[in-house]
Amino acid sequence: MSTAEQPTAGTGSGEHAISVRDLRQSYGDFEAVRGISFEVERGELFALLGTNGAGKTTTVETLEGFRRPTAGSVRVLGADPYGQPPELRGRVDAVLQHSGLFPELTTAETVDLSRDLAADPMDRDAVLELTGLTDKAGVQVRQLSGGQKRRLDLGLAVLSRPEALFLDEPTTGMDPEARRATWETIAGLVREGMAILLTTHYLEEAERLADRLAIMHRGETRAEGTVRDVVLRWGDRIAFRMPAGVRVEDLPELPGATAAAEIRRGEAWVCYTVRGDDADGRAHRAMEPLLEWARRSGTALERLELRSASLEDVFLSVAEGAAEVVSGGQDSG
Protein backbone atom coordinates (compact mmCIF):
# COMPACT_ATOMS: atom_id res chain seq x y z
CA MET A 1 0.00 0.00 0.00
CA SER A 2 1.55 3.27 -1.03
CA THR A 3 0.74 6.50 0.74
CA ALA A 4 1.57 8.94 -1.99
CA GLU A 5 -0.73 7.23 -4.46
CA GLN A 6 -4.07 8.83 -4.85
CA PRO A 7 -6.97 7.19 -6.63
CA THR A 8 -6.84 8.98 -9.99
CA ALA A 9 -8.45 12.31 -9.33
CA GLY A 10 -6.71 13.81 -12.35
CA THR A 11 -9.04 14.69 -15.17
CA GLY A 12 -6.56 13.43 -17.71
CA SER A 13 -6.83 16.64 -19.69
CA GLY A 14 -3.10 17.13 -19.16
CA GLU A 15 -3.25 20.76 -18.08
CA HIS A 16 -3.26 21.17 -14.32
CA ALA A 17 -3.47 24.68 -12.89
CA ILE A 18 -0.50 23.91 -10.67
CA SER A 19 1.75 20.91 -10.94
CA VAL A 20 4.82 19.81 -9.04
CA ARG A 21 6.78 16.81 -10.24
CA ASP A 22 9.59 15.16 -8.29
CA LEU A 23 10.59 18.55 -6.94
CA ARG A 24 13.89 18.74 -5.12
CA GLN A 25 15.23 21.91 -3.57
CA SER A 26 18.61 22.24 -1.88
CA TYR A 27 20.21 25.00 0.13
CA GLY A 28 23.88 24.19 -0.21
CA ASP A 29 24.34 20.73 1.26
CA PHE A 30 20.94 20.71 2.89
CA GLU A 31 18.10 19.22 0.90
CA ALA A 32 14.94 20.98 2.08
CA VAL A 33 12.56 19.34 -0.41
CA ARG A 34 13.21 15.74 -1.42
CA GLY A 35 11.17 14.72 -4.40
CA ILE A 36 7.56 15.71 -3.91
CA SER A 37 4.77 15.64 -6.49
CA PHE A 38 1.22 16.91 -6.55
CA GLU A 39 -1.27 18.71 -8.77
CA VAL A 40 -3.93 21.32 -8.17
CA GLU A 41 -6.83 21.77 -10.57
CA ARG A 42 -8.90 24.87 -11.19
CA GLY A 43 -11.67 25.15 -8.66
CA GLU A 44 -9.72 23.05 -6.21
CA LEU A 45 -7.89 23.79 -2.99
CA PHE A 46 -4.86 21.71 -2.13
CA ALA A 47 -3.43 21.99 1.37
CA LEU A 48 0.19 21.37 2.27
CA LEU A 49 0.50 20.46 5.91
CA GLY A 50 3.65 19.57 7.69
CA THR A 51 6.04 20.02 10.54
CA ASN A 52 8.11 23.17 10.95
CA GLY A 53 10.87 23.19 8.39
CA ALA A 54 9.22 20.44 6.36
CA GLY A 55 9.75 22.43 3.16
CA LYS A 56 6.28 23.90 2.57
CA THR A 57 7.38 27.49 2.09
CA THR A 58 10.30 26.37 -0.05
CA THR A 59 7.85 24.51 -2.29
CA VAL A 60 5.47 27.46 -2.47
CA GLU A 61 8.31 29.88 -3.23
CA THR A 62 9.42 27.67 -6.07
CA LEU A 63 5.90 27.88 -7.49
CA GLU A 64 5.89 31.65 -6.98
CA GLY A 65 8.97 31.86 -9.17
CA PHE A 66 11.57 32.79 -6.57
CA ARG A 67 13.64 29.63 -6.85
CA ARG A 68 14.64 27.36 -9.65
CA PRO A 69 14.12 23.68 -8.78
CA THR A 70 17.32 21.84 -7.97
CA ALA A 71 15.68 18.89 -9.70
CA GLY A 72 12.23 18.01 -10.98
CA SER A 73 9.82 20.50 -12.45
CA VAL A 74 7.00 22.83 -11.53
CA ARG A 75 4.35 24.44 -13.72
CA VAL A 76 1.78 27.10 -13.01
CA LEU A 77 -1.02 27.68 -15.53
CA GLY A 78 1.05 25.83 -18.07
CA ALA A 79 4.16 27.99 -17.66
CA ASP A 80 7.47 27.71 -15.86
CA PRO A 81 7.00 30.23 -13.03
CA TYR A 82 10.70 30.95 -12.45
CA GLY A 83 11.35 34.69 -12.48
CA GLN A 84 7.64 35.55 -12.76
CA PRO A 85 7.41 35.51 -16.58
CA PRO A 86 5.12 38.05 -18.32
CA GLU A 87 2.53 35.42 -19.29
CA LEU A 88 1.79 34.76 -15.63
CA ARG A 89 1.55 38.41 -14.56
CA GLY A 90 -1.88 39.27 -13.28
CA ARG A 91 -2.91 35.61 -13.31
CA VAL A 92 -1.10 34.51 -10.17
CA ASP A 93 -1.00 36.06 -6.72
CA ALA A 94 0.13 35.11 -3.27
CA VAL A 95 -0.01 35.67 0.44
CA LEU A 96 3.56 35.17 1.64
CA GLN A 97 4.31 33.58 4.98
CA HIS A 98 5.23 37.02 6.29
CA SER A 99 3.56 40.31 5.37
CA GLY A 100 5.35 42.66 3.01
CA LEU A 101 3.65 46.03 3.40
CA PHE A 102 4.90 49.61 3.40
CA PRO A 103 4.53 50.62 7.07
CA GLU A 104 4.21 54.29 6.13
CA LEU A 105 1.17 53.90 3.88
CA THR A 106 -2.38 53.79 5.19
CA THR A 107 -4.58 50.77 4.70
CA ALA A 108 -6.56 52.53 1.99
CA GLU A 109 -3.41 53.70 0.22
CA THR A 110 -2.03 50.17 0.32
CA VAL A 111 -5.20 48.78 -1.22
CA ASP A 112 -5.29 51.55 -3.83
CA LEU A 113 -1.71 50.90 -4.84
CA SER A 114 -2.34 47.20 -5.40
CA ARG A 115 -5.57 47.97 -7.21
CA ASP A 116 -3.87 50.40 -9.57
CA LEU A 117 -1.16 47.85 -10.34
CA ALA A 118 -3.71 45.16 -11.22
CA ALA A 119 -5.96 44.80 -14.22
CA ASP A 120 -9.68 44.93 -13.50
CA PRO A 121 -9.37 44.76 -9.71
CA MET A 122 -12.06 44.56 -7.05
CA ASP A 123 -13.45 47.83 -5.66
CA ARG A 124 -11.60 49.41 -2.79
CA ASP A 125 -14.67 49.24 -0.57
CA ALA A 126 -15.15 45.58 -1.38
CA VAL A 127 -11.54 44.83 -0.43
CA LEU A 128 -11.83 46.77 2.82
CA GLU A 129 -15.08 45.00 3.61
CA LEU A 130 -13.61 41.62 2.80
CA THR A 131 -10.67 42.24 5.09
CA GLY A 132 -12.87 43.74 7.79
CA LEU A 133 -10.69 46.86 7.77
CA THR A 134 -13.21 49.46 6.64
CA ASP A 135 -12.81 51.42 9.86
CA LYS A 136 -9.01 51.21 9.60
CA ALA A 137 -8.84 52.68 6.10
CA GLY A 138 -7.06 55.83 7.22
CA VAL A 139 -4.67 54.15 9.64
CA GLN A 140 -1.02 53.61 8.77
CA VAL A 141 -0.15 49.97 8.25
CA ARG A 142 2.47 50.13 11.01
CA GLN A 143 -0.38 50.67 13.47
CA LEU A 144 -2.37 47.61 12.42
CA SER A 145 -2.36 44.53 14.63
CA GLY A 146 -0.78 41.30 13.44
CA GLY A 147 -4.08 39.72 12.51
CA GLN A 148 -5.27 42.89 10.76
CA LYS A 149 -2.11 42.92 8.65
CA ARG A 150 -2.74 39.30 7.78
CA ARG A 151 -6.22 40.16 6.61
CA LEU A 152 -4.86 43.00 4.53
CA ASP A 153 -2.35 40.58 2.97
CA LEU A 154 -5.20 38.36 1.87
CA GLY A 155 -7.18 41.31 0.53
CA LEU A 156 -4.23 42.43 -1.59
CA ALA A 157 -3.69 38.93 -2.95
CA VAL A 158 -7.29 38.38 -4.02
CA LEU A 159 -8.14 41.84 -5.30
CA SER A 160 -6.42 41.05 -8.59
CA ARG A 161 -8.73 38.01 -8.92
CA PRO A 162 -5.97 35.63 -9.97
CA GLU A 163 -6.46 32.23 -11.55
CA ALA A 164 -3.94 30.58 -9.25
CA LEU A 165 -3.38 31.67 -5.68
CA PHE A 166 -0.72 30.68 -3.16
CA LEU A 167 -1.56 31.10 0.51
CA ASP A 168 1.29 30.47 2.93
CA GLU A 169 -0.26 30.28 6.40
CA PRO A 170 -2.79 33.00 5.57
CA THR A 171 -4.74 32.87 8.84
CA THR A 172 -1.82 32.87 11.27
CA GLY A 173 -2.47 35.42 13.98
CA MET A 174 -6.16 35.85 13.19
CA ASP A 175 -8.81 35.62 15.87
CA PRO A 176 -11.34 32.78 15.50
CA GLU A 177 -13.97 35.01 13.96
CA ALA A 178 -11.63 36.51 11.40
CA ARG A 179 -10.33 33.05 10.60
CA ARG A 180 -13.82 31.76 9.98
CA ALA A 181 -14.62 34.73 7.76
CA THR A 182 -11.40 34.13 5.88
CA TRP A 183 -12.31 30.48 5.39
CA GLU A 184 -15.57 31.50 3.82
CA THR A 185 -13.80 33.98 1.58
CA ILE A 186 -11.36 31.31 0.46
CA ALA A 187 -14.10 28.74 -0.08
CA GLY A 188 -15.93 31.30 -2.23
CA LEU A 189 -12.85 31.85 -4.37
CA VAL A 190 -12.48 28.12 -4.95
CA ARG A 191 -16.13 27.85 -5.95
CA GLU A 192 -15.52 30.57 -8.52
CA GLY A 193 -12.83 28.46 -10.14
CA MET A 194 -9.59 29.60 -8.56
CA ALA A 195 -6.83 27.04 -8.03
CA ILE A 196 -5.48 27.49 -4.52
CA LEU A 197 -2.43 26.03 -2.80
CA LEU A 198 -2.67 26.56 0.94
CA THR A 199 -0.21 25.81 3.70
CA THR A 200 -1.42 25.81 7.26
CA HIS A 201 -0.73 24.50 10.73
CA TYR A 202 -4.43 24.54 11.58
CA LEU A 203 -5.77 21.08 10.85
CA GLU A 204 -9.33 22.29 11.11
CA GLU A 205 -8.54 24.76 8.34
CA ALA A 206 -7.38 21.96 6.09
CA GLU A 207 -10.35 19.78 7.03
CA ARG A 208 -12.74 22.60 6.16
CA LEU A 209 -11.16 23.85 2.98
CA ALA A 210 -9.00 21.22 1.36
CA ASP A 211 -10.27 19.09 -1.47
CA ARG A 212 -7.01 17.21 -1.18
CA LEU A 213 -3.97 17.57 1.01
CA ALA A 214 -0.47 16.35 1.59
CA ILE A 215 1.42 16.08 4.85
CA MET A 216 5.11 16.82 4.60
CA HIS A 217 7.93 15.96 6.94
CA ARG A 218 11.61 16.66 6.32
CA GLY A 219 11.11 17.44 2.67
CA GLU A 220 9.00 14.40 1.84
CA THR A 221 5.31 13.79 1.41
CA ARG A 222 4.23 11.23 3.97
CA ALA A 223 0.49 11.18 3.30
CA GLU A 224 -1.60 12.46 0.45
CA GLY A 225 -5.17 12.42 -0.76
CA THR A 226 -8.54 13.72 0.32
CA VAL A 227 -8.96 14.27 4.04
CA ARG A 228 -11.16 11.16 4.07
CA ASP A 229 -8.58 9.06 2.20
CA VAL A 230 -5.74 10.12 4.43
CA VAL A 231 -7.69 9.46 7.55
CA LEU A 232 -9.06 6.13 6.30
CA ARG A 233 -5.65 4.96 5.18
CA TRP A 234 -4.37 5.53 8.67
CA GLY A 235 -6.92 2.95 9.73
CA ASP A 236 -9.37 2.30 12.55
CA ARG A 237 -8.09 1.39 15.97
CA ILE A 238 -9.46 -1.35 18.21
CA ALA A 239 -7.85 -1.33 21.61
CA PHE A 240 -8.37 -2.92 25.03
CA ARG A 241 -6.40 -3.60 28.18
CA MET A 242 -4.25 -6.71 27.84
CA PRO A 243 -6.26 -9.43 29.59
CA ALA A 244 -4.46 -11.12 32.48
CA GLY A 245 -2.84 -14.40 31.54
CA VAL A 246 -3.03 -13.77 27.80
CA ARG A 247 0.18 -13.60 25.77
CA VAL A 248 0.46 -11.66 22.52
CA GLU A 249 0.70 -14.94 20.61
CA ASP A 250 -2.65 -16.01 22.05
CA LEU A 251 -4.46 -13.05 20.54
CA PRO A 252 -6.63 -13.84 17.54
CA GLU A 253 -5.90 -12.86 13.98
CA LEU A 254 -8.45 -10.32 12.80
CA PRO A 255 -9.18 -9.76 9.10
CA GLY A 256 -7.33 -6.75 7.68
CA ALA A 257 -5.79 -5.89 11.03
CA THR A 258 -2.34 -5.94 12.61
CA ALA A 259 -1.94 -6.26 16.35
CA ALA A 260 0.57 -4.45 18.49
CA ALA A 261 1.16 -4.27 22.21
CA GLU A 262 1.62 -0.88 23.77
CA ILE A 263 1.97 0.67 27.17
CA ARG A 264 -0.58 3.24 28.31
CA ARG A 265 -0.02 4.82 31.70
CA GLY A 266 1.93 1.86 32.90
CA GLU A 267 -0.60 -0.72 31.69
CA ALA A 268 -0.22 -3.15 28.85
CA TRP A 269 -2.71 -2.64 26.06
CA VAL A 270 -3.49 -4.35 22.81
CA CYS A 271 -4.07 -2.19 19.78
CA TYR A 272 -5.29 -3.52 16.45
CA THR A 273 -4.94 -1.26 13.47
CA VAL A 274 -7.61 -2.13 10.95
CA ARG A 275 -6.95 -1.21 7.35
CA GLY A 276 -8.56 -2.30 4.15
CA ASP A 277 -10.48 -1.03 1.18
CA ASP A 278 -13.87 -1.60 2.72
CA ALA A 279 -13.60 1.45 4.93
CA ASP A 280 -17.23 1.34 5.95
CA GLY A 281 -17.39 -2.31 6.95
CA ARG A 282 -13.85 -3.15 8.02
CA ALA A 283 -14.14 -2.23 11.69
CA HIS A 284 -17.23 -4.36 12.05
CA ARG A 285 -15.62 -7.27 10.22
CA ALA A 286 -12.63 -7.12 12.54
CA MET A 287 -14.66 -6.67 15.67
CA GLU A 288 -16.87 -9.69 15.09
CA PRO A 289 -14.19 -12.40 15.33
CA LEU A 290 -12.61 -10.55 18.25
CA LEU A 291 -15.81 -10.70 20.26
CA GLU A 292 -16.30 -14.30 19.17
CA TRP A 293 -12.80 -15.18 20.45
CA ALA A 294 -13.46 -13.38 23.72
CA ARG A 295 -16.71 -15.24 24.21
CA ARG A 296 -15.21 -18.63 23.48
CA SER A 297 -12.10 -18.15 25.57
CA GLY A 298 -14.05 -16.51 28.37
CA THR A 299 -11.89 -13.39 28.21
CA ALA A 300 -13.20 -10.01 29.26
CA LEU A 301 -12.08 -7.17 26.94
CA GLU A 302 -11.73 -4.38 29.44
CA ARG A 303 -12.00 -0.74 28.37
CA LEU A 304 -12.65 -1.91 24.83
CA GLU A 305 -12.58 0.99 22.38
CA LEU A 306 -13.00 1.47 18.68
CA ARG A 307 -12.12 4.71 17.03
CA SER A 308 -11.42 6.00 13.59
CA ALA A 309 -8.55 8.41 12.98
CA SER A 310 -8.66 12.16 12.94
CA LEU A 311 -6.39 14.28 10.79
CA GLU A 312 -4.54 15.11 13.97
CA ASP A 313 -3.72 11.43 14.57
CA VAL A 314 -2.26 11.20 11.11
CA PHE A 315 -0.34 14.44 11.50
CA LEU A 316 1.11 13.44 14.82
CA SER A 317 2.26 10.08 13.60
CA VAL A 318 3.90 11.86 10.66
CA ALA A 319 5.54 14.31 13.03
CA GLU A 320 6.78 11.44 15.17
CA GLY A 321 8.66 10.38 12.11
CA ALA A 322 6.72 7.38 10.91
CA ALA A 323 8.44 6.64 7.61
CA GLU A 324 5.13 5.93 6.05
CA VAL A 325 1.91 6.68 7.79
CA VAL A 326 0.48 3.31 6.95
CA SER A 327 3.30 1.34 8.48
CA GLY A 328 2.56 0.44 12.06
CA GLY A 329 0.57 2.22 14.71
CA GLN A 330 1.70 4.51 17.48
CA ASP A 331 4.68 3.13 19.26
CA SER A 332 4.44 5.26 22.34
CA GLY A 333 1.76 5.90 24.89
Binding site: A17, Y27, G28, R42, G43, E61, E64, G65, F66, R67, Q84, P86, L88, R89, G90, R91, V92, D93, A94, L96, H98, S99, G100, L101, F102, P103, E104, L105, E109, L113, S114, D116, L117, A118, A119, D120, M122, D123, A126, E129, L130, T131, G132, D153, L156, A157, V158, L159, R161, E163, F166, A181, E184, T185, G188, L189, E192, G193, M194, A195
Partner: protein
Protein backbone atom coordinates in the same frame (compact mmCIF):
# COMPACT_ATOMS: atom_id res chain seq x y z
CA UNK B 1 -20.56 40.05 7.11
CA UNK B 2 -17.37 39.93 5.13
CA UNK B 3 -17.98 36.87 3.08
CA UNK B 4 -21.07 37.84 1.21
CA UNK B 5 -19.02 40.57 -0.33
CA UNK B 6 -16.60 38.21 -2.01
CA UNK B 7 -19.26 36.40 -3.89
CA UNK B 8 -21.02 39.51 -5.09
CA UNK B 9 -18.27 42.06 -5.43
CA UNK B 10 -15.58 39.76 -6.71
CA UNK B 11 -16.97 37.43 -9.28
CA UNK B 12 -13.91 35.86 -10.82
CA UNK B 13 -16.01 34.07 -13.38
CA UNK B 14 -14.73 30.81 -14.67
CA UNK B 15 -11.00 31.10 -14.43
CA UNK B 16 -9.41 31.78 -17.78
CA UNK B 17 -12.64 32.97 -19.34
CA UNK B 18 -12.04 36.57 -18.38
CA UNK B 19 -10.65 38.97 -20.91
CA UNK B 20 -8.33 41.36 -19.11
CA UNK B 21 -5.84 43.77 -20.48
CA UNK B 22 -2.87 43.73 -18.12
CA UNK B 23 -1.78 47.10 -16.80
CA UNK B 24 1.18 48.26 -18.86
CA UNK B 25 4.58 48.39 -17.21
CA UNK B 26 4.73 52.12 -17.91
CA UNK B 27 1.52 52.75 -16.01
CA UNK B 28 2.71 50.58 -13.15
CA UNK B 29 5.98 52.50 -13.10
CA UNK B 30 4.23 55.86 -12.92
CA UNK B 31 1.85 54.61 -10.23
CA UNK B 32 4.74 53.33 -8.13
CA UNK B 33 6.57 56.62 -8.68
CA UNK B 34 3.63 58.38 -7.04
CA UNK B 35 3.96 56.07 -4.05
CA UNK B 36 7.69 56.74 -3.90
CA UNK B 37 6.92 60.46 -3.52
CA UNK B 38 4.44 59.72 -0.76
CA UNK B 39 7.07 57.63 1.00
CA UNK B 40 9.84 60.21 0.60
CA UNK B 41 7.45 62.74 2.06
CA UNK B 42 6.58 60.51 5.03
CA UNK B 43 9.83 58.77 5.76
CA UNK B 44 11.99 61.13 7.76
CA UNK B 45 15.31 59.40 7.23
CA UNK B 46 14.71 59.45 3.52
CA UNK B 47 13.91 63.14 3.69
CA UNK B 48 17.14 63.76 5.53
CA UNK B 49 19.10 61.94 2.86
CA UNK B 50 17.34 63.85 0.18
CA UNK B 51 18.09 67.23 1.71
CA UNK B 52 21.59 66.46 2.89
CA UNK B 53 23.23 66.90 -0.53
CA UNK B 54 22.35 70.59 -0.43
CA UNK B 55 25.29 70.93 1.95
CA UNK B 56 27.59 70.29 -0.98
CA UNK B 57 26.04 73.17 -2.82
CA UNK B 58 26.83 75.53 0.01
CA UNK B 59 30.35 74.18 0.24
CA UNK B 60 30.68 75.17 -3.41
CA UNK B 61 29.62 78.73 -2.84
CA UNK B 62 32.31 79.43 -0.26
CA UNK B 63 35.16 78.06 -2.41
CA UNK B 64 38.08 80.54 -2.62
CA UNK B 65 41.31 80.87 -4.59
CA UNK B 66 42.53 81.23 -8.15
CA UNK B 67 40.40 79.44 -10.76
CA UNK B 68 42.25 77.12 -13.16
CA UNK B 69 39.84 77.88 -15.99
CA UNK B 70 40.26 81.33 -17.50
CA UNK B 71 37.01 83.27 -17.35
CA UNK B 72 35.23 80.77 -15.10
CA UNK B 73 35.17 81.40 -11.37
CA UNK B 74 35.81 78.79 -8.69
CA UNK B 75 32.25 79.16 -7.45
CA UNK B 76 30.92 78.40 -10.89
CA UNK B 77 33.09 75.29 -11.14
CA UNK B 78 31.91 74.09 -7.74
CA UNK B 79 28.27 74.83 -8.39
CA UNK B 80 28.20 73.30 -11.85
CA UNK B 81 29.81 70.12 -10.51
CA UNK B 82 27.60 69.89 -7.44
CA UNK B 83 24.71 67.98 -9.08
CA UNK B 84 27.13 65.05 -9.28
CA UNK B 85 27.40 65.04 -5.49
CA UNK B 86 23.63 65.24 -5.15
CA UNK B 87 23.18 62.30 -7.51
CA UNK B 88 25.78 60.17 -5.72
CA UNK B 89 24.38 60.93 -2.33
CA UNK B 90 20.78 60.10 -3.18
CA UNK B 91 21.48 57.40 -5.70
CA UNK B 92 23.97 55.29 -3.86
CA UNK B 93 23.28 55.97 -0.21
CA UNK B 94 19.55 56.55 -0.11
CA UNK B 95 18.58 53.90 -2.64
CA UNK B 96 20.75 51.17 -1.16
CA UNK B 97 19.33 51.92 2.25
CA UNK B 98 15.69 51.85 1.20
CA UNK B 99 16.09 48.82 -1.04
CA UNK B 100 17.79 46.79 1.66
CA UNK B 101 15.02 47.79 4.08
CA UNK B 102 12.29 46.91 1.61
CA UNK B 103 13.86 43.56 0.87
CA UNK B 104 14.09 42.85 4.59
CA UNK B 105 10.45 43.85 5.07
CA UNK B 106 9.50 41.51 2.18
CA UNK B 107 7.90 44.41 0.33
CA UNK B 108 9.84 43.73 -2.85
CA UNK B 109 9.08 40.03 -2.62
CA UNK B 110 5.36 40.65 -2.32
CA UNK B 111 5.34 42.92 -5.36
CA UNK B 112 7.17 40.26 -7.34
CA UNK B 113 4.81 37.54 -6.11
CA UNK B 114 1.86 39.54 -7.39
CA UNK B 115 3.48 39.97 -10.76
CA UNK B 116 4.88 43.52 -10.67
CA UNK B 117 7.86 43.45 -13.03
CA UNK B 118 11.30 44.55 -11.79
CA UNK B 119 11.38 47.25 -14.46
CA UNK B 120 8.40 48.97 -12.84
CA UNK B 121 9.96 48.83 -9.37
CA UNK B 122 13.42 50.04 -10.39
CA UNK B 123 11.88 52.46 -12.86
CA UNK B 124 9.72 54.09 -10.20
CA UNK B 125 12.66 54.51 -7.86
CA UNK B 126 14.77 55.97 -10.65
CA UNK B 127 12.06 58.42 -11.68
CA UNK B 128 11.41 59.57 -8.13
CA UNK B 129 15.12 60.05 -7.45
CA UNK B 130 15.47 61.86 -10.76
CA UNK B 131 12.69 64.24 -9.77
CA UNK B 132 14.38 64.98 -6.46
CA UNK B 133 17.74 65.42 -8.19
CA UNK B 134 16.23 67.86 -10.66
CA UNK B 135 14.60 69.75 -7.81
CA UNK B 136 17.84 69.96 -5.87
CA UNK B 137 19.87 70.78 -8.97
CA UNK B 138 17.63 73.79 -9.42
CA UNK B 139 19.29 75.25 -6.32
CA UNK B 140 22.86 75.57 -7.73
CA UNK B 141 21.45 76.53 -11.10
CA UNK B 142 19.36 79.19 -9.40
CA UNK B 143 22.41 80.49 -7.57
CA UNK B 144 24.35 80.62 -10.84
CA UNK B 145 21.63 82.42 -12.73
CA UNK B 146 20.70 84.68 -9.86
CA UNK B 147 24.30 85.42 -8.87
CA UNK B 148 26.01 86.08 -12.16
CA UNK B 149 23.34 85.48 -14.80
CA UNK B 150 25.17 82.40 -16.11
CA UNK B 151 22.80 80.22 -18.14
CA UNK B 152 23.79 76.70 -19.20
CA UNK B 153 25.73 76.82 -22.48
CA UNK B 154 24.51 73.38 -23.55
CA UNK B 155 21.36 72.44 -21.56
CA UNK B 156 20.99 69.16 -23.46
CA UNK B 157 24.42 67.98 -22.35
CA UNK B 158 23.69 68.94 -18.77
CA UNK B 159 20.26 67.29 -18.77
CA UNK B 160 21.49 64.12 -20.45
CA UNK B 161 24.30 63.82 -17.94
CA UNK B 162 21.95 64.27 -15.01
CA UNK B 163 19.59 61.61 -16.34
CA UNK B 164 22.26 59.04 -17.22
CA UNK B 165 24.20 59.41 -14.02
CA UNK B 166 21.03 59.29 -11.91
CA UNK B 167 20.03 56.01 -13.58
CA UNK B 168 23.52 54.63 -13.01
CA UNK B 169 23.74 55.64 -9.36
CA UNK B 170 20.21 54.43 -8.52
CA UNK B 171 20.77 51.05 -10.13
CA UNK B 172 24.22 50.63 -8.61
CA UNK B 173 22.75 51.58 -5.25
CA UNK B 174 20.07 48.92 -5.65
CA UNK B 175 22.54 46.33 -6.90
CA UNK B 176 24.90 46.99 -4.00
CA UNK B 177 22.30 45.60 -1.59
CA UNK B 178 23.37 42.19 -2.87
CA UNK B 179 26.27 42.50 -0.46
CA UNK B 180 24.26 43.70 2.51
CA UNK B 181 22.35 41.62 5.04
CA UNK B 182 20.09 44.47 6.16
CA UNK B 183 19.41 48.17 5.86
CA UNK B 184 22.03 49.17 8.42
CA UNK B 185 24.81 47.24 6.77
CA UNK B 186 23.66 48.48 3.38
CA UNK B 187 24.17 52.01 4.61
CA UNK B 188 27.64 51.18 5.91
CA UNK B 189 28.58 49.32 2.76
CA UNK B 190 27.38 52.14 0.55
CA UNK B 191 29.74 54.57 2.34
CA UNK B 192 32.69 52.92 0.63
CA UNK B 193 31.62 53.42 -2.99
CA UNK B 194 30.32 56.85 -2.07
CA UNK B 195 33.66 57.95 -0.64
CA UNK B 196 35.54 56.30 -3.50
CA UNK B 197 33.36 57.95 -6.09
CA UNK B 198 33.39 61.29 -4.37
CA UNK B 199 37.15 61.44 -4.05
CA UNK B 200 37.61 60.25 -7.64
CA UNK B 201 35.08 62.70 -9.03
CA UNK B 202 37.33 65.75 -9.21
CA UNK B 203 35.01 67.65 -6.87
CA UNK B 204 37.30 67.23 -3.90
CA UNK B 205 40.72 67.19 -5.56
CA UNK B 206 41.24 68.32 -9.16
CA UNK B 207 42.13 65.24 -11.17
CA UNK B 208 45.16 66.79 -12.85
CA UNK B 209 46.77 67.15 -9.43
CA UNK B 210 46.84 63.34 -9.17
CA UNK B 211 49.61 61.06 -10.45
CA UNK B 212 49.07 60.01 -14.06
CA UNK B 213 47.82 56.46 -13.55
CA UNK B 214 45.50 57.45 -10.74
CA UNK B 215 44.06 60.21 -12.88
CA UNK B 216 43.39 57.69 -15.67
CA UNK B 217 41.67 55.33 -13.25
CA UNK B 218 39.54 58.16 -11.90
CA UNK B 219 38.51 59.19 -15.38
CA UNK B 220 37.33 55.62 -16.01
CA UNK B 221 35.25 55.55 -12.84
CA UNK B 222 31.64 56.73 -13.18
CA UNK B 223 31.77 60.11 -11.48
CA UNK B 224 34.70 62.04 -12.95
CA UNK B 225 33.26 62.10 -16.50
CA UNK B 226 29.91 63.17 -15.05
CA UNK B 227 31.50 66.15 -13.33
CA UNK B 228 33.36 67.06 -16.53
CA UNK B 229 30.20 66.80 -18.62
CA UNK B 230 28.26 68.96 -16.17
CA UNK B 231 30.96 71.61 -16.02
CA UNK B 232 31.65 71.49 -19.73
CA UNK B 233 27.98 71.55 -20.66
CA UNK B 234 27.12 74.37 -18.31
CA UNK B 235 30.11 76.67 -18.82
CA UNK B 236 30.69 75.84 -22.49
CA UNK B 237 34.38 75.08 -21.93
CA UNK B 238 36.33 72.08 -23.12
CA UNK B 239 37.28 70.85 -19.66
CA UNK B 240 37.58 67.26 -20.77
CA UNK B 241 41.34 67.22 -20.99
CA UNK B 242 41.69 68.89 -17.60
CA UNK B 243 40.59 72.16 -16.06
CA UNK B 244 43.87 74.02 -16.47
CA UNK B 245 43.70 76.31 -19.45
CA UNK B 246 40.40 74.90 -20.71
CA UNK B 247 39.20 76.93 -23.66
CA UNK B 248 35.62 77.86 -24.62
CA UNK B 249 33.82 75.48 -26.98
CA UNK B 250 30.26 75.18 -28.20
CA UNK B 251 28.00 72.96 -30.27
CA UNK B 252 29.55 70.06 -32.12
CA UNK B 253 33.07 70.99 -30.98
CA UNK B 254 31.96 70.66 -27.39
CA UNK B 255 30.17 67.36 -28.02
CA UNK B 256 33.17 65.98 -29.91
CA UNK B 257 35.41 66.84 -26.99
CA UNK B 258 32.89 65.30 -24.59
CA UNK B 259 32.61 62.04 -26.48
CA UNK B 260 35.12 60.00 -24.44
CA UNK B 261 33.51 61.10 -21.17
CA UNK B 262 30.08 60.36 -22.52
CA UNK B 263 31.22 56.90 -23.60
CA UNK B 264 32.48 56.12 -20.09
CA UNK B 265 29.18 57.31 -18.60
CA UNK B 266 27.21 55.12 -21.00
CA UNK B 267 29.32 52.08 -20.23
CA UNK B 268 28.65 52.55 -16.54
CA UNK B 269 24.93 52.92 -17.17
CA UNK B 270 25.00 49.63 -19.08
CA UNK B 271 26.99 47.97 -16.30
CA UNK B 272 24.54 49.16 -13.67
CA UNK B 273 21.68 47.60 -15.64
CA UNK B 274 23.60 44.33 -15.90
CA UNK B 275 24.38 44.39 -12.18
CA UNK B 276 20.65 44.05 -11.48
CA UNK B 277 20.79 40.48 -12.70
CA UNK B 278 22.29 39.67 -9.34
CA UNK B 279 19.69 41.55 -7.35
CA UNK B 280 18.22 39.58 -4.47
CA UNK B 281 14.47 39.86 -3.90
CA UNK B 282 14.26 37.50 -1.00
CA UNK B 283 16.18 37.92 2.27
CA UNK B 284 16.33 34.12 2.63
CA UNK B 285 17.89 33.67 -0.77
CA UNK B 286 21.29 32.10 -0.28
CA UNK B 287 24.37 34.21 -0.91
Amino acid sequence: MTTQQTATAAPTGTAGARQRRPVSTLRQTLRLTRTEFTLIYRYRTALFFVLFPLVFVFLGVVTQGESPVPGVSNETLALTGSPAAIIMMIGIMHVSNTYAARREQLILKRFRASGVPPLALFGATTLSVLAVVVLLTAVPVGVLIGGSGELPADPVMVALTVVLSTVTMVLLGAASTRLARNAESAQMISMLPFLALYSSSGLMVPLEMMPGELETVCRLLPMAPVVDLLRGGYTGHDVFGGLAGASPATGLDLWAAALPSLAVVLVWTALSVLALRYFRWDPRQPG
